[in-house]
C-alpha cells in the first residue's frame, strides 16, 4: 500500500470517531437534568408562555437529533454558544486561555524529549550500570508520584524555601513573555516528569532490542566506530517505536495540565474546565471536552501516519 492510500484509509477511519466524539459531548448535556432555560428562569417568576417562547428561541422545543445538528452546525464554525456564568462567547473564553496551556504543554514536551531520550540511550547502552539502575529507580518513582504532589513539592522547594520561582503567575502581558516562560518552567517539569519516566523506559527497551540485532554485529564487524553504530544505525531504528508513544504523551500532557494548572493557579484551559464544572457551565465544559478529545484523536492520527512513513512495514 502506498503511503497516500494508507493516509487516506487512516483519515477515513478517524471521521466516524470524530463524529462519535461530537455526539458524546452533546449527549453529555442532554443527559443532564435541566436545560439552559431552567437556569435562566431559576430566580425569576416567569409565566409558562414566556418559558415556552424562550425554549423556542433556544431551539429546545425541537427533537434531540435536530438540536444536535443545530449544535454541530455551530461547532464546525467554532461557535459553541455563550458561557452561562459570564455570558461571553465560549470560543472567546477558550482562545484567551489556550495560549497558556499550549505554552505549558510544549515546554513539558520539550522537557520530556530532552531528558528521556538521552538517558534512555545511555541506560540501554550501559545496561546494568549505575546509570541504568538510577534511571530505573527514577522511572518507578516518576510513574508513581502524583503530579499534583510533585507540583506542590517543587513549589515548596523552589518557591517557598529557595525563593527562586514566583508563587503566582505574572498577571499581565499574555502568554509569550519571558516572565511567563520562567513561571511555566515548574509546571512543565511537573508534567514532564511522569511522561519522561514512561518515555525513558520505552527508549531503553527499544534500544536494547535493536542493539541485539544482527545488523549491529555486522556494523561493528565492518569496523565502524561505535559512535556511528549507535547514532546512525541503532538510534534511528529505535526512535521509530518512540514516535508512536509521542501521541500517548500528548494525551498524558493534556490530562496532566488539567490537574497541574490547579496546583500552580495557572491561567490555562485545564483550570477553566475545572472551574466550569464547579459552576455547571455546560457550554464551556462541552466545548473543552470536545476540544481535548479532538486534539487527542488528531495526535493519534498524526502518530500513525508518521509511524507508517518511518517504517513502511506498517502499511501492510
Amino acid at each position: 500500500m502506498s503511503l497516500q492510500r494508507y493516509v487516506l484509509k487512516r483519515v477515513l477511519v478517524t471521521i466516524p470517531i470524530l463524529i462519535g466524539a461530537t455526539m458524546l459531548t452533546f449527549g453529555l448535556v442532554a443527559l443532564t437534568p435541566g436545560d439552559p432555560v431552567d437556569y435562566i428562569i431559576a430566580f425569576q417568576d416567569v409565566s409558562p408562555e414566556v418559558e415556552q417562547q424562550l425554549r423556542e428561541q433556544y431551539g429546545l422545543d425541537k427533537p434531540l437529533f435536530m438540536q444536535y445538528l443545530d449544535w454541530l452546525a455551530g461547532v464546525v464554525q467554532f461557535d459553541f454558544g455563550d458561557s452561562i456564568s459570564n455570558q461571553r462567547p465560549v470560543t472567546e473564553l477558550i482562545m484567551e486561555r489556550l495560549p497558556y496551556t499550549l505554552l505549558m504543554g510544549s515546554m513539558a514536551f520539550m522537557v520530556t524529549l530532552i531528558t528521556a531520550i538521552p538517558t534512555g540511550i545511555i541506560a540501554a547502552y550501559y545496561r546494568g550500570s549505575v546509570i541504568d539502575q538510577a534511571s530505573r529507580v527514577f522511572s518507578v518513582v516518576g510513574i508513581a508520584i502524583p503530579n499534583f504532589f510533585l507540583g506542590i513539592l517543587l513549589l515548596l522547594i523552589f518557591a517557598s524555601q529557595l525563593n527562586i520561582f514566583p508563587f503566582l503567575a505574572p498577571s499581565s502581558g499574555g502568554a509569550l513573555t519571558p516572565e511567563m516562560a520562567v513561571y511555566t518552567l515548574l509546571p512543565a517539569i511537573t508534567i514532564g516528569t511522569g511522561a519522561t519516566a514512561l518515555l525513558m523506559r520505552l527508549m531503553r527497551s527499544s534500544m536494547i532490542e535493536e542493539l541485539d540485532k544482527d545488523y549491529v554485529t555486522m556494523a561493528r564487524a565492518k569496523g565502524l566506530p561505535e559512535r556511528t553504530v549507535v547514532n546512525k544505525h541503532v538510534l534511528r531504528n529505535s526512535l521509530i517505536s518512540v514516535v508512536t508513544v509521542a501521541a500517548i504523551q500528548v494525551a498524558f500532557i493534556i490530562s496532566g495540565s488539567v490537574v497541574v494548572e490547579i496546583v500552580f493557579s495557572y491561567p490555562g484551559i485545564g483550570r477553566l474546565l475545572v472551574n466550569s464544572v464547579g459552576a455547571r457551565d455546560f457550554p464551556v465544559i462541552q466545548a473543552l471536552v470536545l476540544l481535548i478529545g479532538v486534539a487527542v484523536i488528531l495526535a493519534n492520527l498524526l502518530a500513525d501516519i508518521l509511524y507508517a512513513y518511518l517504517d513502511p512495514r506498517i502499511r501492510y
Partner: protein, 346 residues
C-alpha cells in the same frame, strides 16, 4: 577432534592445564546436602508456577506488604459499627480524625502530633490513617465493577465477532479518544460530586481496558483445538466462554486489574485535589492536599499539611505498581516489563 590433537593444542597455548584429577571432584565432601528432587513438578497448574515466581520477587513482596499494612491500618484506625453493632472495636488512630482544635491549628510535627495538625487543628496522622478508607474502597470497588462490566463485554465481542464486536469496540475506541481524567471530569459534571458518583465515573472510564484486553486474548485463545472440540461436543456458547476460554485468557486481566487499582486511587485523589471529588471535610488524601493547597499552607511554610498526605498517595501507588509488575512477571516471565503500560500516571 582427537585427544592427541587437543593435547598438542594445550601445549601450544599459553595456558597449560595439567594435574586435573577428576576423581577428587567425584569423591570430595558435598558442599550441601542438596539432592535432585525426584518429585516431578510437571502438571502443577499455572498458578503454582506464578506463585513460585512471585514469591522470589522482593520488590513485589514489599509492595504487597505495604498494601496489607495500609489496609489493616485503616480498618483498625477507628471502630466500625454496622447498624449499631460494633464490628471492629479497635481504635489505632491517636486522635479523632474529625476533632477540631482551632488553638492548635497548623502545629508542626511533634511527639504529640507526629505528622502535625492541619488548619483546623485536626491530627494529620489520624486523618491519613482514617482517610485511607476512602481511597482504598474506591480503588477496589471501582476496579471490581469495571472488571465485571469490561470482561463480559470484551468476551462477547471477541467470541462472537461481527457487528456485536464492531459495536462494542467502536464505543471503546471512542471513549479511549478522551484522556481518562477529562472523561471522568465530564461524567462528574453530569452526575455531580460524591462518593458513588466518583466510583461511577471511574467505572465508566475503567471498563474499557478490560474489554480491550480480554477481546484480544479471546481472539487468540479461541483458535485452539480444544475450543473446536468443545463445540463439536455440543457445548453451549456460554459454557465455552466461561469454562474453556475465560480461564485461559484471564492472566493479563488480573495484571491490568492490579495496576489499575493504583491508577484509580491516583485518579480519585486527583479529582479530590481539583475539588471535584469528595466533600472538603472528608479525610480523603487528595482532598487533604487540596485543602492544604487552597489555604495557602505551602506558601506559608506549613509543609507537613501537604507532604504527609501526598506521601501516603505516593507510597500506595508505588506499592501497587510494584505488586502489579510482580504479578505480570509471575504470569508471563518472558514478557516485557513496564513498557506497555497505558499512560495511567496522572
Amino acid at each position: 577432534m582427537t585427544t592427541e590433537q587437543t593435547h598438542q593444542h594445550a601445549k601450544r597455548g599459553r595456558i597449560s592445564i595439567d594435574g586435573f584429577d577428576a576423581e577428587s571432584i567425584e569423591k570430595r565432601e558435598p558442599l550441601s546436602d542438596w539432592q535432585p528432587s525426584l518429585e516431578s513438578e510437571e502438571g502443577k497448574g499455572r498458578l503454582y508456577y506464578a506463585w513460585k515466581r512471585f514469591k522470589s520477587n522482593r520488590l513485589a513482596l514489599f509492595g504487597a506488604a505495604v498494601i496489607v499494612i495500609m489496609t489493616l491500618m485503616t480498618i483498625f484506625s477507628r471502630p466500625i459499627t454496622v447498624a449499631g453493632v460494633p464490628v471492629q472495636p479497635i481504635s489505632l488512630a491517636p486522635y479523632d480524625p474529625a476533632a477540631q482544635d482551632v488553638l492548635t491549628g497548623y502545629s508542626s510535627p511533634s511527639a504529640e502530633h507526629l505528622f502535625g495538625t492541619d488548619w483546623a487543628g485536626r491530627d494529620i496522622l489520624s486523618r491519613i490513617m482514617y482517610g485511607a478508607r476512602w481511597s482504598l474502597s474506591i480503588g477496589f470497588i471501582a476496579v471490581g465493577v469495571a472488571m465485571l462490566i469490561g470482561v463480559p463485554l470484551g468476551a462477547i465481542a471477541g467470541y462472537f465477532g461481527g457487528w456485536v464486536d464492531e459495536l462494542i469496540m467502536r464505543v471503546v475506541d471512542l471513549l479511549y479518544a478522551f484522556p481518562f481524567i477529562v472523561l471522568a471530569i465530564a461524567i462528574i459534571a453530569v452526575l455531580g460530586r460524591g462518593y458513588w458518583e466518583m466510583v461511577m465515573a471511574l467505572v465508566l472510564t475503567g471498563w474499557l481496558a478490560y474489554a480491550r484486553i480480554i477481546r484480544g486474548e479471546i481472539l487468540s485463545v479461541k483458535e485452539n483445538e480444544y475450543v473446536t472440540a468443545a463445540k463439536a461436543l455440543g457445548a453451549t456458547d456460554r459454557k465455552i466462554i466461561s469454562r474453556h476460554i475465560l480461564p485461559n485468557a484471564m492472566a493479563p486481566v488480573i495484571v491490568q486489574a492490579t495496576l489499575s487499582v493504583g491508577t484509580v486511587v491516583l485518579a480519585a485523589a486527583a479529582l479530590g485535589f481539583i475539588g471535584l471529588g469528595l466533600s472538603p471535610a472528608s479525610a480523603e488524601w487528595g482532598v487533604m492536599l487540596n485543602v492544604a493547597n487552597a489555604n495557602g499552607a505551602i506558601r506559608l511554610g506549613y509543609w507537613w499539611a501537604a507532604i504527609f498526605p501526598g506521601l501516603a498517595i505516593f507510597m500506595f501507588v508505588l506499592s501497587i505498581n510494584l505488586l502489579g509488575d510482580g504479578v505480570r512477571d509471575a504470569f508471563d516471565p518472558q514478557g516485557s516489563t513496564s513498557q506497555n503500560r497505558e499512560g495511567g500516571g496522572l
